[in-house]
């Protein structure tokens, strides 16, 4: 079957199997490998992308249900060679080690700051509670999101 998406603002069309997940379509059909498969069953958040306005775990989303939807991935965050403010904040706060979880955290944070530009530290913790990081630890990640929210550059996306 045919699936049409608005992927990082650009219309794309691809042929999918009815049972494919959004994660598998992004990675295998479209070559967008920024969304990672950690667990494959919704537990780790490495596959997080923004569907419509909300961050979702793309490994638990049936791709066929996304017909016509807007999807944003980590590949769409930087504008030309300018990093998204959240990406820069992650670098500035040493919030990245192996990087496997980073794309998922970034998209969860982008969706959070679009919904609520000035979340409390508690609200940041709550928002990222479905994203796991096995090496950096959460303090730097929370610091990075909080700093981005406090600075002039909020996560306005595109």
């Amino acid at each position: 079957m045919i699936l049409r998406l608005l992927l990082n603002g650009k219309p794309v069309t691809t042929t999918i199997r009815p049972e494919q997940t959004l994660l598998s379509v992004l990675r295998e059909n479209l070559g967008y490998t920024g969304a990672k498969e950690g667990c494959g069953v919704g537990e780790c958040g490495a596959c997080t992308v923004i569907l419509g306005q909300r961050a979702v775990k793309s490994c638990t989303v049936l791709a066929a249900q996304c017909e016509g939807a807007s999807v944003r991935t980590v590949e769409g965050l930087a504008q030309d060679d300018r990093l998204h403010p959240l990406q820069q904040a992650f670098i500035d706060h040493n919030a990245v080690q192996c990087g496997f979880c980073t794309g998922g955290f970034l998209l969860t944070a982008v969706a959070l700051l679009e919904r609520d530009p000035h979340p409390s530290r508690r609200e940041i913790q709550e928002a990222i509670s479905g994203n796991l990081c096995r090496c950096t630890g959460y303090v730097q990640i929370i610091d990075a999101i909080a700093a981005c929210a406090a600075g002039e550059g909020s996560g306005e996306g595109q």
Partner: protein, 284 residues
């Protein structure tokens, strides 16, 4: 069926017609948070995946004739953010806020949770104590049944293969509360949950009391023996001890990966006391 197929229903009538035509070969998909992992694990054999997520008439949360109307497709995120629920049915509001994480809540639906009918389904205990009624539509028309009759066993719900849940209704109760024990605060499958809803007289005596436990039996269960301990009384530590002892007759906790039978039984008594106190002392 040799492979999966997919169809997105544009109307309830269309969805019902597909179900009637394809009999057992169809799997309804709402948020997909149970169905999609089941496909990956091979627990869901090839089927026609019938997408009902575009049926906007099955969404929403509103007050109707003294009850709260909750559309089948209403997401856990919508419940968790609802001021109406926070004010009128705290038990359900608190359960939604302790469910998984905000990103999973944005997909997971309330009808999907009770229809998947896991023994630990977090919506079931609060819905049981708020006297939820489940409304179904099928080829024979509409019917409704109390949630306690809808949950027939582990991963079994009383709907036929050609029926769709359209909505639920609950009786709001300010004096209600929910507590969940998981292995950590977010993203945890429940080890034990409890919901309480009660009414009290001006002198503080409990005049009505409903208690339900989750993850402590084949389905979420009402606890009639513990309920009767509180009736006509004002809670104190002796009464909580009596209720904790009565629980053993109400629930059937099992040894499992997330806790032993003994642990679950004593945890159930402890969370009952906390949830009961939250519900009892809640300002109306």
């Amino acid at each position: 069926m040799s492979g999966f197929a997919f169809q997105s229903a544009g109307s309830l009538e269309e969805a019902l017609a597909v179900l009637a035509r394809t009999e057992g070969e169809t799997r309804i998909v709402a948020g997909g948070t149970n169905v999609v992992p089941a496909i990956r694990d091979g627990r869901q054999p090839p089927a026609l995946l019938l997408d009902i997520s575009r049926l906007d008439g099955l969404r929403g949360l509103r007050e109707e004739k003294g009850k709260l109307w909750i559309g089948a497709l209403t997401t856990l995120a919508e419940l968790a953010a609802s001021p109406l629920l926070a004010e009128r049915a705290p038990a359900l509001y608190q359960a939604a806020n302790s469910f998984a994480d905000p990103n999973t809540r944005g997909r997971a639906t309330v009808a999907g949770n009770i229809t998947n009918a896991s023994p630990g389904a977090d919506m079931a205990p609060p819905l049981l104590v708020l006297e939820a009624e489940v409304f179904l539509t099928g080829p024979a028309g509409h019917r409704s049944l109390p949630l306690r009759e809808y949950l027939t066993g582990p991963f079994r719900a009383a709907l036929t293969r050609d029926e769709i849940v359209t909505h639920l209704t609950i009786s709001p109760q300010v004096h209600s509360a929910f507590i969940k024990i998981g292995l950590r605060r977010a993203m945890a499958i429940s080890v034990a949950t409890v919901a309480v809803a009660l009414e009290k007289a001006t002198d503080g005596a409990v005049t009505a009391c409903r208690i339900a436990f989750g993850a402590l039996g084949p389905t979420a269960l009402r606890a009639p023996q513990a309920e009767s301990v509180f009736l006509g009384r004002q809670p104190d530590s002796a009464l909580f001890a009596a209720a904790a002892a009565a629980i053993a007759g109400d629930i059937q906790p099992r040894d499992g990966l997330r806790g032993t039978r003994e642990y679950r039984l004593s945890a159930a008594g402890a969370i009952l006391e906390r949830a009961f106190s939250l519900a009892y002392y809640k300002e109306a």
